[in-house]
Symmetry: C2
Subunit: 189 residues, 2 copies
Amino acid sequence: MDKAAAVFNLKGYHATSLSDVMRVTGLEKGGIYNHFASKEELETATFAHVVRQMRTALFESVRGKRSAMERLEAVCRLFARIARGFPVPGGCPVMNTAIETDHADSALRSLAREAMADWRRFLETIVRSGIERGELPGTSDAGELGALVIATLEGAIMLANLHDDPTIVDKAASQLLSHLSTSATAAAQ
Amino acid sequence: MDKAAAVFNLKGYHATSLSDVMRVTGLEKGGIYNHFASKEELETATFAHVVRQMRTALFESVRGKRSAMERLEAVCRLFARIARGFPVPGGCPVMNTAIETDHADSALRSLAREAMADWRRFLETIVRSGIERGELPGTSDAGELGALVIATLEGAIMLANLHDDPTIVDKAASQLLSHLSTSATAAAQ
Protein backbone atom coordinates (compact mmCIF):
# COMPACT_ATOMS: atom_id res chain seq x y z
CA MET A 1 0.00 0.00 0.00
CA ASP A 2 2.94 2.34 0.64
CA LYS A 3 4.18 1.66 -2.90
CA ALA A 4 0.76 2.29 -4.42
CA ALA A 5 0.47 5.48 -2.35
CA ALA A 6 3.78 6.75 -3.73
CA VAL A 7 2.82 6.33 -7.38
CA PHE A 8 -0.68 7.79 -6.80
CA ASN A 9 0.83 10.83 -5.07
CA LEU A 10 3.41 11.42 -7.79
CA LYS A 11 1.25 10.93 -10.89
CA GLY A 12 -2.17 11.80 -9.46
CA TYR A 13 -5.02 9.36 -8.85
CA HIS A 14 -6.71 9.83 -12.22
CA ALA A 15 -3.50 9.55 -14.29
CA THR A 16 -2.25 6.43 -12.45
CA SER A 17 -3.32 3.26 -14.21
CA LEU A 18 -3.81 -0.16 -12.68
CA SER A 19 -0.70 -1.24 -14.62
CA ASP A 20 1.29 1.46 -12.79
CA VAL A 21 0.11 0.03 -9.47
CA MET A 22 0.87 -3.53 -10.63
CA ARG A 23 4.37 -2.48 -11.69
CA VAL A 24 5.33 -0.78 -8.41
CA THR A 25 3.70 -3.33 -6.11
CA GLY A 26 4.62 -6.44 -8.12
CA LEU A 27 1.03 -7.66 -7.71
CA GLU A 28 -1.11 -9.21 -10.43
CA LYS A 29 -4.42 -7.64 -11.40
CA GLY A 30 -6.26 -10.50 -9.71
CA GLY A 31 -4.25 -9.98 -6.54
CA ILE A 32 -5.30 -6.34 -6.40
CA TYR A 33 -8.96 -7.11 -7.13
CA ASN A 34 -8.90 -9.73 -4.36
CA HIS A 35 -8.54 -6.83 -1.93
CA PHE A 36 -10.35 -3.97 -3.66
CA ALA A 37 -13.58 -4.18 -5.65
CA SER A 38 -12.58 -1.37 -8.04
CA LYS A 39 -9.83 1.13 -8.86
CA GLU A 40 -11.86 3.74 -7.00
CA GLU A 41 -11.88 1.56 -3.88
CA LEU A 42 -8.11 1.06 -4.17
CA GLU A 43 -7.68 4.85 -4.49
CA THR A 44 -9.76 5.77 -1.45
CA ALA A 45 -8.19 3.01 0.70
CA THR A 46 -4.69 4.13 -0.29
CA PHE A 47 -5.43 7.80 0.32
CA ALA A 48 -7.06 7.03 3.69
CA HIS A 49 -3.93 5.05 4.62
CA VAL A 50 -1.66 8.02 3.84
CA VAL A 51 -3.93 10.44 5.71
CA ARG A 52 -3.78 8.16 8.79
CA GLN A 53 0.04 8.11 8.64
CA MET A 54 0.14 11.92 8.51
CA ARG A 55 -2.41 12.29 11.32
CA THR A 56 -0.41 9.95 13.56
CA ALA A 57 2.78 11.88 12.80
CA LEU A 58 1.02 15.19 13.53
CA PHE A 59 -0.20 14.05 16.94
CA GLU A 60 3.13 12.41 17.79
CA SER A 61 5.08 15.52 16.78
CA VAL A 62 3.64 17.61 19.62
CA ARG A 63 3.81 14.92 22.32
CA GLY A 64 5.69 16.18 25.38
CA LYS A 65 5.75 19.74 24.01
CA ARG A 66 4.17 22.12 26.49
CA SER A 67 4.05 25.61 25.03
CA ALA A 68 2.12 26.67 21.95
CA MET A 69 5.35 27.86 20.28
CA GLU A 70 7.10 24.51 20.86
CA ARG A 71 4.10 22.70 19.40
CA LEU A 72 3.96 24.99 16.37
CA GLU A 73 7.70 24.48 15.81
CA ALA A 74 7.14 20.71 15.90
CA VAL A 75 4.35 21.01 13.31
CA CYS A 76 6.66 23.08 11.08
CA ARG A 77 9.33 20.36 11.34
CA LEU A 78 6.76 17.76 10.28
CA PHE A 79 5.89 19.80 7.17
CA ALA A 80 9.62 20.10 6.39
CA ARG A 81 9.66 16.27 6.44
CA ILE A 82 6.63 16.16 4.12
CA ALA A 83 8.57 18.36 1.67
CA ARG A 84 11.34 15.74 1.85
CA GLY A 85 9.13 12.78 0.97
CA PHE A 86 7.24 11.79 4.13
CA PRO A 87 5.07 9.70 4.05
CA VAL A 88 5.33 9.56 0.25
CA PRO A 89 7.36 11.43 -2.38
CA GLY A 90 5.66 14.12 -4.47
CA GLY A 91 4.57 16.74 -1.93
CA CYS A 92 1.64 16.82 0.47
CA PRO A 93 -0.91 14.15 -0.52
CA VAL A 94 -3.82 16.14 0.91
CA MET A 95 -2.95 19.29 -1.09
CA ASN A 96 -2.31 17.23 -4.23
CA THR A 97 -5.68 15.51 -3.93
CA ALA A 98 -7.44 18.79 -3.07
CA ILE A 99 -6.14 20.25 -6.33
CA GLU A 100 -6.64 17.17 -8.48
CA THR A 101 -10.28 16.76 -7.47
CA ASP A 102 -11.45 20.37 -7.52
CA HIS A 103 -13.71 20.02 -10.57
CA ALA A 104 -16.19 17.58 -9.05
CA ASP A 105 -17.16 16.02 -5.76
CA SER A 106 -15.80 12.56 -5.14
CA ALA A 107 -14.94 10.22 -2.29
CA LEU A 108 -11.29 11.34 -2.52
CA ARG A 109 -12.28 15.01 -2.31
CA SER A 110 -14.41 14.37 0.78
CA LEU A 111 -11.47 12.60 2.44
CA ALA A 112 -9.12 15.49 1.55
CA ARG A 113 -11.60 18.02 2.91
CA GLU A 114 -12.01 16.07 6.16
CA ALA A 115 -8.24 15.69 6.59
CA MET A 116 -7.61 19.39 6.06
CA ALA A 117 -10.45 20.38 8.40
CA ASP A 118 -8.96 18.00 11.00
CA TRP A 119 -5.50 19.64 10.72
CA ARG A 120 -7.05 23.10 10.97
CA ARG A 121 -8.92 22.11 14.16
CA PHE A 122 -5.70 20.64 15.55
CA LEU A 123 -3.76 23.87 14.94
CA GLU A 124 -6.65 26.01 16.14
CA THR A 125 -6.58 24.09 19.43
CA ILE A 126 -2.83 24.70 19.83
CA VAL A 127 -3.27 28.43 19.13
CA ARG A 128 -6.32 28.73 21.41
CA SER A 129 -4.55 27.08 24.33
CA GLY A 130 -1.59 29.40 23.69
CA ILE A 131 -3.94 32.38 23.94
CA GLU A 132 -5.57 31.06 27.12
CA ARG A 133 -2.18 30.60 28.78
CA GLY A 134 -1.06 34.09 27.72
CA GLU A 135 1.64 32.74 25.36
CA LEU A 136 -0.05 34.30 22.34
CA PRO A 137 -1.92 37.62 22.34
CA GLY A 138 -5.58 37.54 23.42
CA THR A 139 -6.47 39.50 20.31
CA SER A 140 -5.35 36.67 18.02
CA ASP A 141 -7.99 34.79 16.08
CA ALA A 142 -7.17 31.11 16.68
CA GLY A 143 -8.98 29.89 13.55
CA GLU A 144 -7.29 32.49 11.37
CA LEU A 145 -3.79 31.75 12.70
CA GLY A 146 -4.36 28.00 12.32
CA ALA A 147 -5.37 28.48 8.68
CA LEU A 148 -2.36 30.77 8.14
CA VAL A 149 0.05 28.11 9.41
CA ILE A 150 -1.35 25.44 7.07
CA ALA A 151 -1.61 27.79 4.07
CA THR A 152 2.00 28.92 4.42
CA LEU A 153 3.44 25.43 4.91
CA GLU A 154 1.38 23.86 2.11
CA GLY A 155 2.22 26.66 -0.31
CA ALA A 156 5.89 26.31 0.61
CA ILE A 157 5.77 22.54 -0.08
CA MET A 158 4.34 23.28 -3.54
CA LEU A 159 7.16 25.79 -4.24
CA ALA A 160 9.79 23.42 -2.84
CA ASN A 161 8.65 20.63 -5.15
CA LEU A 162 8.43 22.85 -8.20
CA HIS A 163 11.93 24.22 -7.66
CA ASP A 164 13.47 21.02 -6.21
CA ASP A 165 14.48 22.96 -3.10
CA PRO A 166 13.03 21.70 0.21
CA THR A 167 14.80 24.49 2.13
CA ILE A 168 11.98 26.79 0.92
CA VAL A 169 9.78 25.10 3.56
CA ASP A 170 12.41 25.64 6.28
CA LYS A 171 12.63 29.34 5.39
CA ALA A 172 8.86 29.87 5.21
CA ALA A 173 8.51 28.06 8.56
CA SER A 174 11.15 30.26 10.14
CA GLN A 175 9.35 33.43 8.92
CA LEU A 176 6.05 32.02 10.15
CA LEU A 177 7.45 31.21 13.60
CA SER A 178 9.02 34.66 13.80
CA HIS A 179 5.58 36.19 13.04
CA LEU A 180 3.97 34.05 15.76
CA SER A 181 6.75 34.65 18.29
CA THR A 182 6.53 38.43 17.75
CA SER A 183 2.89 38.03 18.70
CA ALA A 184 4.04 35.90 21.64
CA THR A 185 6.48 38.59 22.82
CA ALA A 186 3.78 41.23 22.51
CA ALA A 187 1.47 39.02 24.60
CA ALA A 188 4.04 38.60 27.37
CA GLN A 189 4.57 42.37 27.73
CA MET B 1 -8.91 30.00 -25.53
CA ASP B 2 -10.38 31.39 -22.31
CA LYS B 3 -12.98 28.62 -22.38
CA ALA B 4 -10.36 25.93 -22.97
CA ALA B 5 -8.23 27.42 -20.18
CA ALA B 6 -11.15 27.17 -17.74
CA VAL B 7 -11.79 23.47 -18.37
CA PHE B 8 -8.06 22.63 -18.31
CA ASN B 9 -7.67 24.47 -15.00
CA LEU B 10 -10.66 22.78 -13.40
CA LYS B 11 -10.09 19.18 -14.55
CA GLY B 12 -6.33 19.21 -15.03
CA TYR B 13 -4.51 19.02 -18.37
CA HIS B 14 -4.14 15.25 -18.42
CA ALA B 15 -7.73 14.48 -17.44
CA THR B 16 -9.24 16.94 -19.94
CA SER B 17 -10.07 15.28 -23.24
CA LEU B 18 -10.30 16.90 -26.64
CA SER B 19 -14.07 16.27 -26.44
CA ASP B 20 -14.18 18.39 -23.27
CA VAL B 21 -12.44 21.21 -25.14
CA MET B 22 -14.79 20.79 -28.13
CA ARG B 23 -17.81 20.91 -25.83
CA VAL B 24 -16.83 24.14 -24.03
CA THR B 25 -15.49 25.97 -27.10
CA GLY B 26 -18.11 24.76 -29.57
CA LEU B 27 -15.29 24.00 -32.02
CA GLU B 28 -14.99 20.88 -34.17
CA LYS B 29 -11.92 18.65 -33.88
CA GLY B 30 -10.72 19.89 -37.27
CA GLY B 31 -11.12 23.49 -36.15
CA ILE B 32 -8.89 22.87 -33.14
CA TYR B 33 -6.27 20.98 -35.18
CA ASN B 34 -6.22 23.84 -37.67
CA HIS B 35 -4.62 25.93 -34.95
CA PHE B 36 -2.69 23.37 -32.89
CA ALA B 37 -0.73 20.40 -34.16
CA SER B 38 -1.47 18.23 -31.13
CA LYS B 39 -3.27 18.18 -27.78
CA GLU B 40 0.08 18.95 -26.14
CA GLU B 41 0.47 22.07 -28.27
CA LEU B 42 -3.06 23.17 -27.36
CA GLU B 43 -2.20 22.62 -23.69
CA THR B 44 1.01 24.64 -23.67
CA ALA B 45 -0.52 27.46 -25.75
CA THR B 46 -3.52 27.65 -23.41
CA PHE B 47 -1.35 27.59 -20.28
CA ALA B 48 1.01 30.23 -21.71
CA HIS B 49 -2.05 32.41 -22.46
CA VAL B 50 -3.24 32.17 -18.83
CA VAL B 51 0.25 32.86 -17.48
CA ARG B 52 0.43 36.01 -19.64
CA GLN B 53 -2.93 37.21 -18.30
CA MET B 54 -1.72 36.74 -14.72
CA ARG B 55 1.62 38.41 -15.40
CA THR B 56 -0.09 41.46 -16.92
CA ALA B 57 -2.44 41.68 -13.93
CA LEU B 58 0.50 41.38 -11.53
CA PHE B 59 2.41 44.24 -13.15
CA GLU B 60 -0.73 46.37 -13.49
CA SER B 61 -1.70 45.80 -9.86
CA VAL B 62 1.32 47.72 -8.55
CA ARG B 63 1.20 50.57 -11.07
CA GLY B 64 1.17 53.95 -9.33
CA LYS B 65 1.87 52.31 -5.94
CA ARG B 66 4.99 53.82 -4.39
CA SER B 67 5.78 52.07 -1.13
CA ALA B 68 6.68 48.40 -0.75
CA MET B 69 3.70 47.87 1.59
CA GLU B 70 1.23 49.38 -0.89
CA ARG B 71 2.64 47.16 -3.63
CA LEU B 72 2.45 44.04 -1.45
CA GLU B 73 -1.15 44.90 -0.54
CA ALA B 74 -1.95 45.17 -4.26
CA VAL B 75 -0.38 41.75 -4.90
CA CYS B 76 -2.47 40.29 -2.06
CA ARG B 77 -5.63 41.75 -3.60
CA LEU B 78 -4.71 40.13 -6.92
CA PHE B 79 -4.38 36.71 -5.24
CA ALA B 80 -7.77 37.27 -3.57
CA ARG B 81 -9.16 37.71 -7.12
CA ILE B 82 -7.43 34.51 -8.25
CA ALA B 83 -9.21 32.68 -5.41
CA ARG B 84 -12.48 34.09 -6.83
CA GLY B 85 -11.90 32.80 -10.36
CA PHE B 86 -9.47 35.20 -12.10
CA PRO B 87 -8.35 34.55 -14.82
CA VAL B 88 -10.03 31.12 -14.73
CA PRO B 89 -12.08 29.20 -12.16
CA GLY B 90 -10.43 26.37 -10.20
CA GLY B 91 -7.66 28.09 -8.25
CA CYS B 92 -4.21 29.28 -9.32
CA PRO B 93 -3.32 27.73 -12.71
CA VAL B 94 0.41 27.83 -11.96
CA MET B 95 0.04 25.95 -8.65
CA ASN B 96 -2.39 23.47 -10.21
CA THR B 97 0.03 22.74 -13.05
CA ALA B 98 3.01 22.57 -10.68
CA ILE B 99 1.23 19.86 -8.72
CA GLU B 100 -0.23 17.99 -11.70
CA THR B 101 3.13 17.70 -13.45
CA ASP B 102 5.40 16.86 -10.51
CA HIS B 103 6.12 13.27 -11.56
CA ALA B 104 7.95 14.07 -14.79
CA ASP B 105 9.43 16.94 -16.70
CA SER B 106 7.26 18.35 -19.45
CA ALA B 107 6.74 21.55 -21.42
CA LEU B 108 3.91 22.50 -19.04
CA ARG B 109 6.13 21.97 -16.00
CA SER B 110 8.86 24.18 -17.47
CA LEU B 111 6.32 26.93 -18.10
CA ALA B 112 4.98 26.64 -14.53
CA ARG B 113 8.51 26.77 -13.13
CA GLU B 114 9.37 29.86 -15.19
CA ALA B 115 6.14 31.61 -14.21
CA MET B 116 6.71 30.95 -10.51
CA ALA B 117 10.36 32.04 -10.71
CA ASP B 118 9.20 35.22 -12.47
CA TRP B 119 6.68 36.00 -9.68
CA ARG B 120 9.32 35.35 -7.03
CA ARG B 121 11.74 37.75 -8.74
CA PHE B 122 8.96 40.33 -8.99
CA LEU B 123 8.21 40.10 -5.25
CA GLU B 124 11.88 39.99 -4.35
CA THR B 125 12.36 43.28 -6.23
CA ILE B 126 9.49 44.90 -4.31
CA VAL B 127 10.91 43.72 -0.98
CA ARG B 128 14.48 44.71 -1.89
CA SER B 129 13.45 48.26 -2.89
CA GLY B 130 11.48 48.46 0.37
CA ILE B 131 14.65 47.53 2.29
CA GLU B 132 16.75 50.06 0.34
CA ARG B 133 14.28 52.85 1.11
CA GLY B 134 14.14 51.89 4.78
CA GLU B 135 10.49 50.80 4.61
CA LEU B 136 11.38 47.23 5.56
CA PRO B 137 14.18 46.22 7.96
CA GLY B 138 17.67 45.93 6.50
CA THR B 139 17.99 42.52 8.13
CA SER B 140 15.21 41.08 5.95
CA ASP B 141 16.11 38.53 3.31
CA ALA B 142 14.33 39.77 0.17
CA GLY B 143 14.31 36.37 -1.51
CA GLU B 144 12.97 34.65 1.59
CA LEU B 145 10.19 37.20 2.14
CA GLY B 146 9.24 37.03 -1.54
CA ALA B 147 8.93 33.25 -1.35
CA LEU B 148 6.94 33.55 1.90
CA VAL B 149 4.40 35.87 0.27
CA ILE B 150 3.81 33.48 -2.64
CA ALA B 151 3.77 30.36 -0.45
CA THR B 152 1.18 31.84 1.91
CA LEU B 153 -1.10 33.17 -0.82
CA GLU B 154 -0.91 29.99 -2.94
CA GLY B 155 -1.54 27.74 0.06
CA ALA B 156 -4.48 29.93 1.04
CA ILE B 157 -5.97 29.63 -2.47
CA MET B 158 -5.72 25.84 -2.19
CA LEU B 159 -7.53 25.90 1.20
CA ALA B 160 -10.12 28.39 -0.10
CA ASN B 161 -10.96 26.12 -3.03
CA LEU B 162 -11.10 22.98 -0.93
CA HIS B 163 -13.43 24.57 1.61
CA ASP B 164 -15.36 26.79 -0.87
CA ASP B 165 -14.42 29.84 1.20
CA PRO B 166 -12.40 32.54 -0.62
CA THR B 167 -12.24 34.66 2.55
CA ILE B 168 -9.45 32.32 3.71
CA VAL B 169 -7.19 34.17 1.25
CA ASP B 170 -8.27 37.58 2.59
CA LYS B 171 -7.48 36.45 6.16
CA ALA B 172 -4.11 34.90 5.28
CA ALA B 173 -3.22 38.08 3.34
CA SER B 174 -4.14 40.24 6.30
CA GLN B 175 -1.92 38.15 8.64
CA LEU B 176 0.89 38.28 6.09
CA LEU B 177 0.65 42.06 5.72
CA SER B 178 0.59 42.43 9.49
CA HIS B 179 3.82 40.37 9.67
CA LEU B 180 5.44 42.56 7.01
CA SER B 181 4.16 45.83 8.50
CA THR B 182 5.48 44.86 11.94
CA SER B 183 8.82 44.52 10.20
CA ALA B 184 8.15 47.88 8.54
CA THR B 185 7.41 49.55 11.89
CA ALA B 186 10.58 48.06 13.37
CA ALA B 187 12.54 49.41 10.40
CA ALA B 188 11.18 52.94 10.84
CA GLN B 189 12.18 53.07 14.54
